[in-house]
Each structure stands twice: as structure tokens, then as C-alpha cells.
Symmetry: C2
Subunit: 336 residues, 2 copies
């Protein structure tokens, strides 16, 4: 067995953001600055081992580029429910993974310690260390992209929960008998605010009222099946009436979900981010108005609502810093 | 100014559970055992100062009974949103209090340090120190009585939130456009599962279908207006069809709310208690079935659902122990 010994203080760590459609990897210094960033499609249909091969080849690129600088542990944020203690992805519906021992596989391949966490937990970690959450001890992040995820920081520490899945705000019930969700439940926040749900609703509405959504239909090349959440955002910006109504509805539902979170956790800061938040005009304002109407006055009083600061880089920065602070002590044994 | 100096280790502390209808006060030893307990109506319509007079006279009773034993700080759990840091009850709708400086008033009267917290936080503190939550570091309590409250313990510590109102699970949205709640929002968990909401729904249903609820109507002396949540529980136990349906409905909605909480916080233990939980036959089983259907498998895996162990004493025990561990250092100055 070979054991690679880590330098006491690694110059760089590597952060990986492993999503359903793309993998991003970055070489990150101890201050959380990105030295280099790579991006490639996930090729999820090839299966988890194929995805790991892609990630390993991205990591190798960094090693080859600068072999003289010591590289420390690797952090991986995965879009799914992650058991960080055991380094296992329990369930990642969009990757079609179940109980995949990602840490073991990666460590065997690269012989560096690996720390794994949920992708929104990684983003939140980044925002706390280097972004808009610096110095705040109680905060909540809600990210709306294809899915809706979240993370909680209490007393300056990321809340992992007893099996690593704390912060799954996307699967809070917002309507008892609402539309079915990807998780098997009904009426979850994600089933209203997730990109897949918005696209689904948009397609139904456009099919029913094509004249009300000329712009959206034009952007989709006249093909209802091509309507995506991103196109809804674009069409709303350009004044499409139906798209605009969808944004209003999405914002109001998001606001109801945020009120539940704010009442339950009474955070000082609520950080919002992700493709839907970024791509839908006025969404934060609409959601905040609804939040103000619905949440308890005493919970609203200390609250600030802000936009994610690190944007698309938060995931890799957070994963890299998380690895630096959480994976250092482990010794890795690889095959001979 | 007089200053009362506390003994280094008080033999007893006093715990007070200040609810909308009754005040309970107990002399509690350092192990959390109740030495003596008193109970009296709150007389809330008399206003907050009148209520404080009642509480002070209960405290005096303990002093008079055993003047030789050193009595330490006093803990008060209040049914409302409490700013513990400042010792202020921000809002207690059922007491009709708003921004009442309860700590200052009580300390001035009894010249002992007082610690204030929310009533369900006090109950949870009791369950963690001496009840079913001993040794568990991540747990959630949900109590359903007239209202629905909750509390969160993370890393063995009670989560207070940034203004002391963390754990207001009763005001999580369960149905976006559901029935109005006492908090001003719509479709809150409390608007389905709180005693007031159940009574309201029962009255409407009985008025509409009196033949389906012979037993419930009989228990209410034939007067629809006298139907309470407690009578619904009794009637359900005795086989009343309408009451039984109400219990099923309440359990299913509670289960949907619990799923949201479990997904968001991924606790190891979920403690359920309160008058509705105790008085409605099979409610925990119905709620647990729904929870099992709705929550994420990875969040359900580590979860145990249990009934409160300390029952009606949890509040005073928790408040007394909380005061012992949190209020000791403060020095109190009273009027000359």
C-alpha cells in the first residue's frame, strides 16, 4: 500500500462542483481565490464510474500544470443527498446515483483526502467564508436552479443533520395536495419553484393559451416542447404576458416557502441564488414582498435578504475551502 | 440600590410555565426533580402587570415554605415569541402581550436573576436534560395544543435564532391559500392542527352534518358552540364518525408538516407532545404514516419519532434547569 503524506499547509486545494449537466473543478488558494477553473459536461448517462474518470482527469490537469506546488485535499459538492461522514452519495435523482461511495473511489484514484458534501452546502460554505455570509453566525441559503436546495449555518457552522441532508428546503410541503415532486411527495417547494417544474407549467399554459405568449413561443422556435425555465425568464424580461404571470406566481410561492423557513429558523441572513433567482426579473423583490406578508414580525425584524455574491464560483470555492478545513487529518491508502 | 447575592450553588431553582389560561410554578432541584408545584389561572385579561403579581405571589409561597434553602435563579417559559437576550416577550397573541419586559419586571419584584424563553423551548430544554432527549445532539420538538409550537436542538444546544423565535413550526405554510391563521398568514400548520383550528372546523362540520356526529354533539351538551378540540378527541375515542374523520385529517396534515421539518433539519429525534397529540387517538401513528410517505428516505433513515416523556411537567422542569444553566452570572439590582 502506498500512502501519500500531505504537506502541513497545502498551497492549494481543489474544489469540484458536480452537477447533473456539468462538472466544474477549480484550483483554489488558501484565501479562496480561484487560480484556475475547468468545466466539462458530466456525461451522467455513462454511470458514476465514468463520471469519476472525468473528474480524475480534471484533477490530473491541475497536477500536471504545476507539479511543484503542494496540493491539499479535494472537496466535492454533489447535487444530491450526501452522507458526508461516510463519503457516500445517498441519492442524486438528477445523476441517477444511489448509495455511491464517491469518496472511496476518488481517494483510490488520486491518493489525496477527499471531503464530500451537498452542492448547496458547498455554495453556502463558500458564501460564509468568502462571500456575503462572512462573519454571520446564523444564516440560511436557498438556491433555486433545476432543483431547489438549501443549507443552514448555526453558530457559524454548517448544519449537516444526522445523515448529512439538512437544508432540503426544496422538499418542504407548500401545498398539501399540490403537484407531484421528483422526490415522490406532492406540493413541495421545488414542484413550484424548481426549473423543471416551471418549464412544465409553462408548457401546459402555452399549449392552452398560445396567443398570450407570443414571445415565449418565438424564443422556443415555435416548439412548445423546447420551452425551458431559462426561456421563461428571458420572455418575461421582454414583456411576454404569460411568462410575466409565471414569474409572479413563482415569486409568490417562493415567498411562502421562505416565510416557513424564516419562521422555523429565525436566521439573521437569507442568501438567495441559483439560475432561477438570477434569470427571473424581479423574482427576489416579489418573493420578499410575500415573505413580508407571511412571516412573523419578530422573525422578520432581524432578517436581511441578500443575493449570493460569489455567483457561479461559490460551489467550487466552498468545496475547496471545506476540504481544507475538514479533510486535512485523514490519511489515504491507495492500491499499490 | 439593593443587590441580592446568589449562593454559588443554589439548592433549588424555580421554573414557571406561563400559558394563556394557567400559570404553573415549581420548585425544582438540581437534578430536575419537582419538590413542589403550584398552579393557578393566568387571569390574562387583567393585563401583564396583574399576571406578574400572580407569578410573584407564587414565587413568594416557595420562599415562605422553606426560607432556609438557597433558591437560585428563576426560569420562565412564555407562550409567545420571546426575545431571551433582552428578556422581552415580543408577541404573545393568546395573552395579548406585545413587547412586555417581563424579565425586568420580575427581577425588580423578586431580586433574583430571571431567564425567559418560549414555552416550547422550555419544554424541549426539559426533555433534553431530563427526558426523552437526553444525550441526543440533534432533535426537534413539535407541540400541538391550542397553538402549535416547536423547538430545535443542534449540537446539544437549544437553537434560539437571531431574535429568539426559532422553532415556530406552527407557522410554516402547509397550504399556500389555506385557511387564515392567528398570525395573519394563511395555511399555516397551526391553522390545521392547532386546537382552536380543529374546534373551528369541527363546529362547521357538525353544523353541516349533525346526524354524522351524534356523540360529539352529545358531549357538547347539544350546543355546537361548545365543541372543543378536547371533545373531538373524546368523541373520536368513542367512535364518532365525524370526529374520527377529523382526527385522520389532522394527523395527515401534521404528517405533511413533520415531513417538511424532517427534510429541512434532518434530526435524529422528533419529540411530539401537547394536548392534541395526547388527546387524539392514534394521531402519532397517522402522522408518522404520512411522514413516512412524504419525507426523503435519507432523512427518514436516522429518525426516531417519540412521545414527550415529562408530559405536563416538562415546561416547569425545563424552565428551572434553563435558569440554572443560563441565568446564574447576572447580578440583579432592585429598587431601594
Amino acid at each position: 500500500m502506498q500512502t501519500r503524506t500531505l504537506p502541513a499547509e497545502a498551497t492549494y486545494t481543489i474544489g469540484i462542483d458536480l452537477g447533473a449537466t456539468k462538472i466544474e473543478a477549480a484550483l483554489v488558494d488558501s484565501k479562496g481565490c480561484i487560480v484556475e477553473k475547468l468545466r466539462t459536461p458530466t456525461e451522467a448517462p455513462g454511470g458514476p464510474d465514468h463520471v469519476i474518470e472525468i473528474a480524475v482527469s480534471m484533477i490530473s490537469t491541475f497536477f500536471l500544470r504545476d507539479a511543484s506546488s503542494p496540493v491539499g485535499p479535494i472537496g466535492v459538492g454533489v447535487a444530491g443527498q450526501v452522507d458526508s461522514d461516510n463519503g457516500v452519495v445517498r441519492r442524486a435523482p438528477n445523476l441517477d446515483w444511489r448509495d455511491f461511495p464517491i469518496r472511496e473511489r476518488l481517494e483510490a484514484a488520486v491518493r489525496l483526502p477527499v471531503a464530500v458534501l451537498n452542492d448547496v452546502q458547498a455554495i453556502t460554505y463558500g458564501e460564509c467564508r468568502r462571500g456575503v455570509g462572512r462573519g454571520i453566525s446564523n444564516l440560511v441559503c436557498v438556491f433555486a436552479g433545476t432543483g431547489v436546495g438549501g443549507a443552514v449555518v448555526i453558530g457559524g457552522k454548517l448544519l449537516r443533520g444526522s445523515s448529512g441532508t439538512a437544508g432540503e428546503f426544496g422538499h418542504m410541503t407548500i401545498e398539501r395536495d399540490g403537484p407531484p415532486c421528483s422526490c415522490g411527495n406532492r406540493g413541495c417547494l421545488e414542484a413550484f419553484v424548481g426549473g423543471w417544474a416551471i418549464a412544465q407549467r409553462a408548457r401546459q399554459k402555452v399549449a392552452a393559451e398560445p396567443t398570450r405568449s407570443a414571445e415565449l413561443l418565438r424564443l422556443a422556435g415555435g416548439d412548445v416542447a423546447k420551452i425551458s425555465a431559462a426561456l421563461v425568464g428571458q420572455a418575461a424580461t421582454q414583456g411576454d404576458a404569460l411568462a410575466r404571470a409565471l414569474v409572479e406566481e413563482t415569486g409568490a410561492t417562493l415567498g411562502a416557502g421562505l416565510a416557513a423557513i424564516v419562521n422555523a429558523l429565525n436566521p439573521e441572513l437569507l442568501i438567495l441564488g441559483g439560475g432561477i433567482i438570477e434569470g427571473f426579473p424581479d423574482l427576489i423583490e416579489i418573493a420578499q414582498r410575500e415573505l413580508g406578508r407571511r412571516a412573523l414580525a419578530s422573525a422578520l425584524k432581524p432578517l436581511r435578504v441578500v443575493r449570493s455574491k460569489l455567483g457561479a464560483d461559490a460551489g467550487v470555492i466552498g468545496a475547496a475551502l471545506f476540504a481544507r478545513e475538514n479533510a486535512r487529518e485523514r490519511k489515504i491508502s491507495g492500491p499499490e
